[in-house]
């Protein structure tokens, strides 16, 4: 790793053009991984720096999954280093509804708060794969790249995650409000 070439001005410019457009995705993914808007910024910033450091190894594949994989590894490392576990959920649920929603009806925002809380309550393994699929809109192939899993495992893990989320939602919303039948 000490052999990593130091990025020069031209590399930084290329990095800026290729990776910086995905900063929103990096932050969004980190936001769901960490469930904390402040920590998410630290994770996203550190991930961008790592991405620049390893940019010479980027072979012009898809930039977004490449970057999201680094985000995830960064978070794993930061958590291991600090010895911190996930934050307690009560704290998260208090803030889970944060976000811009002035023009939404109270009903819609109430439902959304439940959806956010249900997703936040899922174990990390289920949460990350659902966020990648439904929020970051990654294909199975890209999810496989981010999580370093075979496609078959992506599919089975995604199916399990959906069952877990459906159960959480049923508990929070009640069946009639969202049209989720029993499975």
């Amino acid at each position: 790793m000490s052999e990593t070439p130091k990025p020069d001005g031209a590399t930084v410019e290329r990095f800026r053009a290729v990776m910086l457009p995905h900063l929103d995705a990096a932050y969004g993914f980190a936001r769901w991984l960490t469930r904390d808007p402040v920590v998410a910024q630290d994770v996203a910033q550190e991930a961008m720096l790592r991405a620049l450091r390893y940019f010479h190894a980027f072979r012009g594949d898809e930039a977004k999954p490449w970057l999201l994989r680094i985000v995830r590894n960064t978070w794993t490392d930061m958590r291991a280093k600090s010895g911190a576990g996930d934050r307690p959920l009560e704290e998260i649920e208090d803030r889970a509804a944060d976000g811009p929603d002035p023009e939404q009806s109270a009903l819609a925002s109430d439902q959304r708060r439940h959806v956010v809380a249900a997703l936040a309550a899922l174990p990390a393994e289920a949460r990350e794969i659902l966020v990648l699929r439904e929020i970051e809109d990654c294909s199975y192939k890209h999810i496989a790249a981010v999580l370093d899993l075979p496609i078959g495992t992506v599919m089975s893990r995604l199916a399990r995650a959906r069952e877990k989320l459906a159960a959480e939602l049923r508990g929070r919303l009640g069946r009639r409000d969202h049209g989720l039948p029993d499975m």
Partner: protein, 250 residues
């Protein structure tokens, strides 16, 4: 297509991962399979709920931090004019934080205490709890400081100058508790703090450091320290607007 096969395809179909011919086969099989139709509808509903969640873009502060790192790594000296252009170009992402610390009435030279002031700014700009008292009403914010610090800072709304008051908080600068007022510029946070000073009025001196604009000046018996990522000209405008408002209020 028998049902277990069909069931295994529901997710892949929903996720757009089936080939055109598999999709067509799945749709035909679905007609004969009410359970799988139900499953498909449930999956679609849940996917819809997640996709309706508002996306949270990277905060401007994060973007500024990353930009700063990239510039530093590229090893390009931060040319002043270039920097100025960049901040002007970022007119849509203005964050101002003014830190006014209690430093015994002396003008603090640039560099002295500026780390603390930048930290104050980062706490304001990088946190969801930027203010301890949230109000655009000076008559709410000003009394909040009573009993929390040993002086009464002038609290003024600068909405007419484009810097509406958002609230206030306390911070510690130079070992003393000081008042910090938070303002907004467009969609972004602006924080301002001030403390009493013995010297006469002085013009705002705006400097740049690490991509932030710092302003220091004295006015109406208060020492002002400001930190922001505004263009220096904007920072100067903020200082002038504040001075005018204080004078008009006396």
């Amino acid at each position: 297509m028998d049902c277990p096969t069909c069931e295994a395809m529901v997710d892949a179909y929903l996720d757009g991962e089936l080939s055109a011919s598999d999709s067509a086969a799945f749709e035909r099989a679905l007609e004969a399979c009410p359970d799988c139709r139900k499953r498909l509808e449930a999956g679609r509903a849940m996917s819809g709920l997640l996709r309706e969640l508002p996306l949270e873009p990277a905060p401007d502060l994060l973007r500024a931090r990353v930009e700063r790192e990239l510039r530093a790594i590229a090893g390009r000296p931060i040319a002043r004019t270039r920097e100025r252009l960049r901040w002007s170009a970022m007119a849509a992402s203005l964050i101002v934080a003014l830190g006014i610390g209690w430093l015994g009435g002396n003008v603090v030279g640039t560099g002295v205490g500026s780390d603390e002031l930048v930290s104050t700014y980062l706490r304001v700009a990088g946190s969801e709890h930027a203010v301890d008292v949230a109000s655009s009403d000076r008559h709410t914010v000003k009394p909040w400081f009573a009993g929390r610090i040993d002086y009464a800072p002038p609290v003024l709304d600068l909405t007419s100058d484009g810097f509406p008051l958002e609230g206030g908080r306390l911070d510690v600068v130079g070992g003393r508790k000081v008042s910090v007022l938070v303002y907004r510029r467009n969609q972004h946070k602006v924080a301002l703090s001030l403390w009493p000073s013995l010297g006469g009025n002085s013009a705002a001196k705006v400097t740049q450091r690490d991509g932030f604009a710092l302003a220091e000046w004295r006015h109406a018996g208060f020492e002002m320290h400001a930190v922001s990522d505004l263009a220096p000209a904007e920072m100067a405008a903020f200082a002038a607007a504040l001075d005018r408002a204080i004078d008009a209020d006396r």
